[in-house]
Amino acid sequence: MAETVLTNPGESPAQTAGLRGIADDWSSDQRAFKNVSWGKAMMWIFLLSDTFIFSCFLLSYMTARMSTTVPWPNPSEVFALEIAGHHIPLILIAIMTFVLISSSGTMAMAVNFGYRRDRVKTAVLMLVTAALGATFVGMQAFEWTKLIMEGVRPWENPWGAAQFGSSFFMITGFHGTHVTFGVIFLIAIARKVWRGDFDVERRGFFTSRKGHYEIVEIMGLYWHFVDLVWVFIFAFFYLW
């Protein structure tokens, strides 16, 4: 029984190369993921399920766009902005992309400093990540406001196919919600790091399990996934 509650797996058996190794791990007793803790494995499995959700959204968008007989609004023009008298296509989305990629960079470094047990740098980098995430959500709110003022609704818009609005609000709304939850959890975990919870293995108030710096990496997995989804949304919805 003790084996099942381990957070950090002990020595993992040697790995056989290639497909034989996969078959060995999966057919072995009790554990398929030898050197991965349950927390990390479950985050990966959650992210896999989330991948399917976003795949379904992008697929329904593809189906709507391919099957409509009305021309699709040109995203390059819809998301253009006038900055200092210049008409720049898609500029807001480009800035949002750079903000989110930067937040992924700071998160990756936070994970690194976490494993070096540098609690101040980890917490600061996580808070920077959260700030960049909040900036992203803010810019998205600006974008939504602008589009709604211009008359975009889930059932109609001034430029073309009616499905543009519903696809846009559904996909970016769901992604923005993911970013928002990410920011909340980043702040919660940064607070724990700052307080030194993972240095003294303080027990969580809800799970009463010992805290480890691995939670920073698990948080990082979620955050990078949010960035990853944006890569696909940027390519398929905004650029295509």
Partner: protein, 133 residues
């Protein structure tokens, strides 16, 4: 995605060297993912370059198959870098990598089904619901 991960897997001996140079203070959790900061900064830089490239695809108004293939190329490269390095998939055991990376690839079957379906819907709409002229 899978390709990039597998490609990095091939270089594992060199990358693996970093995994064990953990500061002595981290004795209790020395098993975590440890890689030099420089690696993250290089990947970060590449993600910026690739994002700039995909923005330029739109800025220079590339059209047709050139546009679509460039968009897909930059998208796959960015996704691969994020999954392989930032999410550390390049250093995980293959049992986990395949369990996570293979199922999303199968979504392509769903894509193919929906391409046929929407072509059919479009055909029906053009044939029966076209505005009378």
């Amino acid at each position: 995605m899978t390709n990039v991960a597998v490609h990095l897997e091939a270089q594992q001996p060199s990358l693996h060297a970093h995994v064990h140079d953990v500061p002595a203070s981290g004795a209790t959790h020395a098993k975590g993912q440890q890689h030099p900061i420089k690696l993250y900064l290089v990947v970060w830089g590449w993600l910026f370059v690739l994002s700039a490239c995909s923005y330029l695809v739109d800025y220079f108004h590339f059209q047709g198959y050139l546009r679509w293939s460039l968009i897909l190329l930059f998208m796959v490269l960015k996704a691969g870098l994020i999954v392989a390095v930032f999410m550390h998939m390049a250093w995980e055991r293959l049992a986990l990598s395949y369990a996570i990376l293979l199922p999303p690839v199968l979504v392509l079957v769903f894509v193919a089904i929906m391409v046929f379906e929407s072509d059919y819907t479009h055909l029906i709409r053009v044939s029966f619901f076209a505005p009378a002229t």
